[in-house]
């Protein structure tokens, strides 16, 4: 095989892109040095990102003072948790970080962004993969639930379509080695379920397998649907003693409450939070953030 020619591609860009040079009267060609772009390999964080907790997204309906109040009102109420709890700071409904690398440092809102679920290591969505497939990555979820697969799982890899994944998950492959190790092979490495919210114009999907507890799930859902829950904290707090645990989301604007429910394998609509987490993920087919006025009978 002949040795390919080495290209100085920065040099090339100035010769081979006449159209770019013509069309830009402002700059002359692309002087990449001028843009002073700092490149890092995936996995290297630009340090400024850590400080951006306070730079919450600019959806116009948020009022920063109210966010904290809102978060505090919910925290510790034993209710469906917002992210305000864990690190203090000016965290609002949509803060991308929860005070740094706690709780495994997982950016749950980016569950589709290729985040690796390794303990506290990667926040950037690139994979830090060991070569030996048997390296056991302990579960990154704080509550100690270990996922059956003993290695870290990368979102969207291997590249298998949802239809196929869900088909194989619903009816796990039979093994005639009969080693009783069915649990380890059961299902696929992810379990995407649809999440709808009453009043929201579109649905979302979450992979239940990447969460280890109801708390994590609810935080993620909060982030996903926060753009639909707008306004200020109402004057009524949250009563914790009425039997609905971990399932409340307050609609600040309208003052009504939402309830998180799910459809189980028997097609019944159930309140989220009653059964152990693992049992829930095994039986949950879809989620619905329901207005509690509709949740009669749950």
């Amino acid at each position: 095989m002949s040795k390919p020619i080495e290209h100085d591609y920065i040099g090339l860009s100035e010769q081979q892109l006449p159209s770019m040079e013509k069309s830009s009267d402002k700059k002359d060609g692309l002087h990449l040095k001028d843009t002073e772009l700092r490149l890092g390999l995936p996995g290297s964080e630009s340090p400024e990102r850590e400080d951006h907790d306070q730079n919450v997204l600019s959806l116009k309906s948020f009022v920063s003072g109210a966010k904290r109040g809102f978060s505090d009102a919910l925290d510790g109420g034993g209710n469906w948790v917002f992210s305000g709890g864990s690190g203090g700071g000016t965290e609002g409904l949509f803060s991308p970080r929860r005070g740094g690398k706690n709780n495994g440092g997982i950016d749950l809102s980016g569950s589709d962004s290729g985040s690796v679920l390794k303990d506290g290591a990667a926040q950037k969505p690139s994979v830090v993969q060991e070569k030996k497939p048997q390296v056991a990555a302990t579960s990154s979820h704080g509550n100690g639930n270990i996922a059956p697969a003993s290695k870290a799982q990368v979102v969207g890899w291997p590249p298998i379509r949802s239809f196929r994944k869900n088909t194989m998950a619903a009816h796990p492959p039979k093994n005639d080695d009969g080693d009783g190790n069915a649990e380890a092979k059961l299902g696929s490495g992810c379990l995407y379920v649809k999440v709808s919210m009453d009043g929201a114009p579109y649905l979302r999907k979450v992979d239940l397998k990447i969460y280890g507890s109801y708390k994590e799930l609810s935080s993620a859902l909060e982030k996903m649907f926060s753009c639909f829950t707008i306004g200020q904290c109402g004057s009524h707090g949250v009563s914790s003693g009425d039997g609905l645990t971990e399932s409340r989301l307050i609609d600040l604007l309208h003052g009504s409450e939402y309830v998180l429910t799910y459809e189980d394998k028997d097609c019944d609509w159930m309140l989220v939070g009653d059964v152990p987490w693992e049992m829930f993920t095994d039986s949950c087919k879809r989620l619905r953030i329901m207005k509690s006025t509709e949740a009669i009978g749950l």
Binding site: S113, G114, S126, Q129, D176, D207
Partner: protein
């Protein structure tokens, strides 16, 4: 445009329109240009969306849209929705009820909200024009079998019928009895208690299907029922067993009965031994896809290695398209494959563990894939995996001159890798990259190339927001979309890498239906939310 007359003639004559990227052109434009088109095929989502890398709904087809189609086009004939979502069986019901001349309804890989299987009964009793029906993606548990049977019975031109999993085995015989003329058939679930009467009924009805060339479905297979299809095996050219969870011996038996097989989709239960039998029995094989039965397990659960692929490449002279999931590979095997099978047009290898090296030498697999692109001069599609450095991209840029689509994950060392591909692959149309250390330099240096391609997808790479803005600013014919769930990209430093980037050429300008986590970089180099 060659000349105006050609343009005009083509406009008025074109009956089939294929839109590879629904955002590249607006519906208004298509309608205006092709007033007489009768069949439309729409593709939306970038390929990597299939693998849950985004939640973005790229091709949302709502029930309202289906209703609009049904009401507006009285003579609507063909509807093929590929990997679409957003509609329900209610929308299908409207199509069924209104499109009296519908010939083809194909919902391959769609996600349909299954509200009711009774949509099938909306095909009027007078409706008989169905030629092709693919509803294999539907999941409804209840299904109106009698409506299905009646539909199949009265559509005597039906050639393709692909049922969904909900249709039980014992219903298949009745359905097939009504349609012995079928050329392509997809079963529902292929499991039932073993009963001789059901078996012989099934075997009998398969025997009467003299035209059958293609079989699929086979969910939940019970091996005892497989021989029922033996009567048709000798004529089969296509067999999709990719949902059939049966072991190698049963697969071998089946495959040995199919000497004329051209296309096989199967799970890795077939193992190397099964592929060796395939290589010796199926000399007409052109396409092979081997899917993983347990992709997320830490340990291999079957004995399927690079040897199986080598065997098939050696034994099947017409093999040109391969999708192969396995857990180990070597440069030696890839070179052997390339030398023996230079006629590959599609070569997709997925080594399940990212960055897996050559298991014999522990080196990267650059040389192996280099051989593939060097020997397979007509290669149009390539998917890479395993441990790969910039060198493999150098080979690709140098040799893969006919390559149209390239999929890359967890590969490369630097921008040089991306540069080789963008500057060397003359025929490149689609490039999708994830988790590679490719950044601004190569992208910006090859910005003009992007206008010659349909699309570029990059996720979890190192392209900065600043570079995205620059591209958006400089390249008005490209839509540069930044997808980032961490919030607006301008809330972070400009040199911060974006999470996902999707760039595609478009004559329709930026789109307006983006969810809140997608931003278009436009000419003002500002943000459009």
């Amino acid at each position: 445009m060659v000349c105006k007359s050609w343009y005009e003639i083509e406009r008025w004559c074109r009956r089939k329109v294929f839109v590879g990227n629904c955002y590249a052109v607006s519906p208004k434009m298509v309608i205006r240009r092709f007033p007489e088109f009768r069949s439309i095929e729409l593709k939306g989502k970038p390929h990597f969306a299939d693998f849950n890398l985004i939640r973005l709904k790229r091709m949302v087809v709502t029930d309202e849209s289906l209703e609009l189609i049904a009401k507006s086009f009285k003579n609507f004939k063909v509807l093929v929705l590929s990997s679409c979502e957003g509609f329900s069986t209610d929308g299908l019901a409207v199509i069924a009820a209104s499109c009296k001349n519908l010939k083809e309804l194909d919902l391959r890989d769609c996600e349909v909200d299954d509200l009711s299987a009774h949509w099938l009964s909306h095909f009027p009793e007078t409706y008989t024009s169905l030629v092709s029906l693919n509803i294999s993606c539907l999941g409804s548990d209840e299904a109106s079998f009698s409506a299905l049977e009646r539909l199949v019975g009265r559509c005597t031109n039906l050639k393709t019928l692909q049922l969904n999993r909900a249709v039980p085995l014992d219903k298949i015989a009745n359905i097939l009895r009504h349609a012995p003329q079928l050329v392509e058939f997809g079963t529902g679930t292929y499991t039932a208690d073993v009963r001789p009467d059901v078996y012989s009924d099934l075997a009998g009805v398969f025997s009467s299907c003299k035209e059958l060339k293609s079989l699929s479905g086979f969910w939940d297979v019970v091996p005892d029922y497989l021989p029922a299809i033996y009567p048709v095996c000798s004529k089969l050219t296509s067999l999709n067993l990719s949902y059939a969870t049966i072991q190698s011996p049963d697969l071998i038996k089946l495959v040995s009965h199919c000497p004329n097989l051209q296309r096989l989709l199967v799970l890795d239960y077939i193992e190397d031994s099964g592929l060796e039998v395939l290589a010796s029995s199926c000399k007409d094989l052109q396409e092979l896809r081997v899917f993983p039965s347990d992709p997320f397990g830490a340990e291999p659960n079957v004995s399927l290695t690079e040897q199986g692929l080598v065997a098939v490449s050696l034994g099947c002279p017409k093999l040109q398209s391969v999708l192969y999931f396995c857990r180990r590979m070597s440069n030696e095997a890839l070179v052997t494959i390339a030398r023996n099978r230079p006629n590959f047009t599609r070569f997709r290898l997925c080594i399940i563990e990212p960055k897996t090296a050559d298991y014999l030498t522990l080196e990267p697999l650059d040389v192996g894939f280099g051989a593939i692109v060097q020997y397979c001069k007509d290669l149009k599609r390539l998917s890479l995996s395993g441990l790969l450095t910039d060198r493999v991209f150098e080979y690709i840029g140098t040799y893969a001159k006919k390559l149209e689509m390239l999929s890359v994950a967890f590969a490369g060392d630097s921008d040089l890798g991306l540069h080789h591909v963008l500057s060397g692959c003359e025929s490149l149309r689609k490039l999708e990259i994830r988790d590679c250390p490719f950044g601004d330099k190569a992208l910006l240096a090859n910005a003009a190339k992007l206008e010659t391609m349909r699309s570029l997808w990059m996720s979890s790479c190192a392209v900065s927001f600043a570079a995205c803005k620059l591209l958006g600013q400089k390249m008005p014919r490209l839509n540069v979309e930044v997808i980032d769930e961490r919030g607006p990209p301008d809330s972070r430093p400009e040199n911060c890498p974006v999470d996902k980037l999707y760039i595609y050429r478009s004559i329709a300008g930026p789109r307006f239906d983006m969810p809140p986590f997608v931003w278009t970089m436009d000419e003002d180099s500002g943000l459009r939310l």
